[in-house]
Amino acid sequence: MALLGRTLLLLGLAISLYGIGASIYGARARRREWVASGRRAVYALAGVMLTAFVLVEIAFQRNDFAFNIVAQTSSTTLSTFYKLTAPWSSQAGSLLLWVMLLSLWSSLVLFATRRRLREIAPYATAVLMGFATFFDGLACFAANPFATAAPTRVPTQGAGLDPLLQHPTMMFHPPMLYSGYTLMAIPFAFAVGALITGRLGSEWIRDTRRFALAAWLFLGVGITLGALWSYTELGWGGYWGWDAVENAALMPWLCITAFIHSIQIQEKRGMLKVWNVSLILLSGTLAVFGTFLVRSGVLDSIHAFGASTLGIPFVALLGVMILGSIGLVVLRRPALRSENRLDSLLSREAMFLLQNLVLVAMVFVIFWVTLFPLISQALTGTKVSVGPPAFTPFVVPLALILVALAGIGPIISWRRATRANLRRNFIFPGGLAAVVLILVLALAHATSKPLAIAMWALGAFAIGTVLQEFYRGTAARRAITHDAWPVALGSLVRRNRRRYGGYMAHLGISVLLIGVAASSSFQHSRDVVLRPGQSARVDGYRFTYLRPTEAATASKIQFGAILRVAKGGSHVTTMHTTRGYYPSTDFTTGVIGRFFAGEADSSVGLDAGVARNLWAVTSANPQPLSGYINQGNRYFSTYLSSVMGKLSRLPRARQSQFLSQYYSYRDAAVAGIARRFVTHTWPVEFLIIVAPLVTWIWVGAGIVALGGLIALWPVPALAWRRSAAVYRARLARELA
């Protein structure tokens, strides 16, 4: 099966190279059959890569430890669900996932545009196949998922999946992120095609805009799932830490957000063509750059870059992408001239432009601060750590401007807006913002956090404009159709998916940022050591450590704590937090000690509410048991060495019988020692966090995703033709 897999990867490489050649030859020689053949090569690649990926999944399900990636990231005790997710926890598996997703999405776009974009599509096919060649090449020669151990050295048990990755979000987070990255390659490829052919009009934008939106949606969902994982699994209580891998995904997302806005200006006004192709080329490059940051380990240390087998090829690819992009844009500058000028600074175009500048500034800030340790290390030899505090003074004000624009954008019209109209549209949202501001200042005594309060007021303003838009749109629809409110609302959204999907995204992002502002500015966290029966007070809540808990299985020992939470004497909730220890593969820690010395993971005690989240994690550790553990280590190893001589003279069957007996005693000893944890009253350390409005971060992200889906959902071709026919008829009358 490994041989088959390796052959499929090589076949994929051959298909990709053929696809590049056939497409370019077909385009240059105007031989349509070669272009069609190049397009079919993409479909074939998708089939081959899907087959290869299924082979890897089968190897995981069958515990085929001859495969190195199975031996390194799985074990027989891993559940079926996590065996499904384990392939992308390794370098090689991730690369395969990348190529597979790229080939699937590419097939989809090329199938959808097979009768259109006749000049651009072949070059786009070549670019997409170029990416496939690169990533498939890495999978073939640098990190092969089908690499196997020699038959004599196949382990009987795998090292297991990192416990931190055993979390439900890991089923979706990496495929979503990679889908976002690979989808971003599609508008990138078509932009390159458009630049090469010089056909820079509306056509390529119309046909690939949807993929840019899909990239935005998938990447956004991926980022949110990562934040959720961090919040519920990592045991530090946060959802965003400005970690390099987080920033690697955020930068292309911000960039594509700018693109899906500014592209509308080009669609409508024929303006900003240079800016738009630059944005999409930058988004595509940042997507590959993100993969590079995560996969090459360059940020862990500049030295890792040289050691990683992936560093140099990635830098070469990025160099080609950046230089090629700049070259193409410069070459086509005459064709990218604007057809129109900005009519007025008081128009939606101007707001979009401003929003674009803010987003690009944000990308630049994040890029600089993320890479600063690397830059400083290259310049001075010493890595300089800037950390999260360096992001906030820049990102927070920029985010405030963005939310304000998210509110202003929807109520300002294209081309020109009159002040009187604008004023009229400002009354309701502005009033809402004022009410929120007054309420917060009066009730929350929160004057010490001006930025958070500004975010709430601006967020309320943006939410107000969106609600007003929905209300007015529905009212206008009702005036024509006399439908009931829900029916009118439904048909309004259905007929204007892009507009109202977009508004929902604005609503969601405002809700999300309100949650972020509240939870980061007004959270109370305490690090306390408690004995059973003792309690600690955090933000008015009384957390009482009721009793310790313990659970020991063959694969994991869990120490935990039951916490009772009360406020003002009345019971709020009871929560359970545990810390699990996995057996270590390091046998020097002792026969018994090994079971307490491996990797650890936390399970968070969480009470999520509408207004606030109560979050607690224990760092209960086996330290108080070390006396028993050492005693057990000594006893078992002395016993084993004393019977070793006798044991070696026994027949094989008796030997294994003896050993299984020995192991069952050992397991009983481990369980017995672990149980001591609950019979004693050792002090345990807790991290307790009370933070407001965290739930709204996830709700907001959900609204954004729903808005994205609505905007993305294809308008039935029939409905579009029908509405186009109406305009055509009307215009024909006027023409006559």
């Binding site: 099966m1 052959t7 059959e33 070669w34 089939g47 009009g201 215009l731």
Partner: protein, 100 residues
């Protein structure tokens, strides 16, 4: 067994990829069925422009209905947009005529 599977996959891949080459450009069903497939790239580009313009007219109408454009602004914007749309339609007609 593996070799058989590899050969089968290789055969399928080669078959899929070379189908258009074997058919040749003349009777490629993908190019022969629809009028859009016959259309010159210019026509397709103009059609995309036309669709975007229709969308823009509809957006302006909605902006007017929801009170973002005053009556006189809407009149101005709408007549501009219609003029632009008509220009695109004229060019589209010319392009189609030239194409035949």
């Amino acid at each position: 067994m593996v070799y058989v599977i590899v050969l089968v996959i290789l055969f399928v891949v080669v078959f899929v990829i070379t189908t258009p080459l074997r058919r040749g450009s003349e009777d490629d069903p993908e190019s022969a069925d629809q009028e859009t497939a016959q259309a010159a790239p210019d026509v397709l580009e103009l059609e995309a422009q036309r669709d975007a313009k229709y969308r823009e007219i509809r957006d302006a109408e909605l902006d007017h209905q929801t009170g973002k454009l005053s009556d006189e602004d809407f009149q101005a914007v709408d007549s501009n947009l219609r003029a632009e749309a008509m220009e695109i339609l004229r060019r589209l007609d010319r392009a189609r005529a030239g194409d035949r």
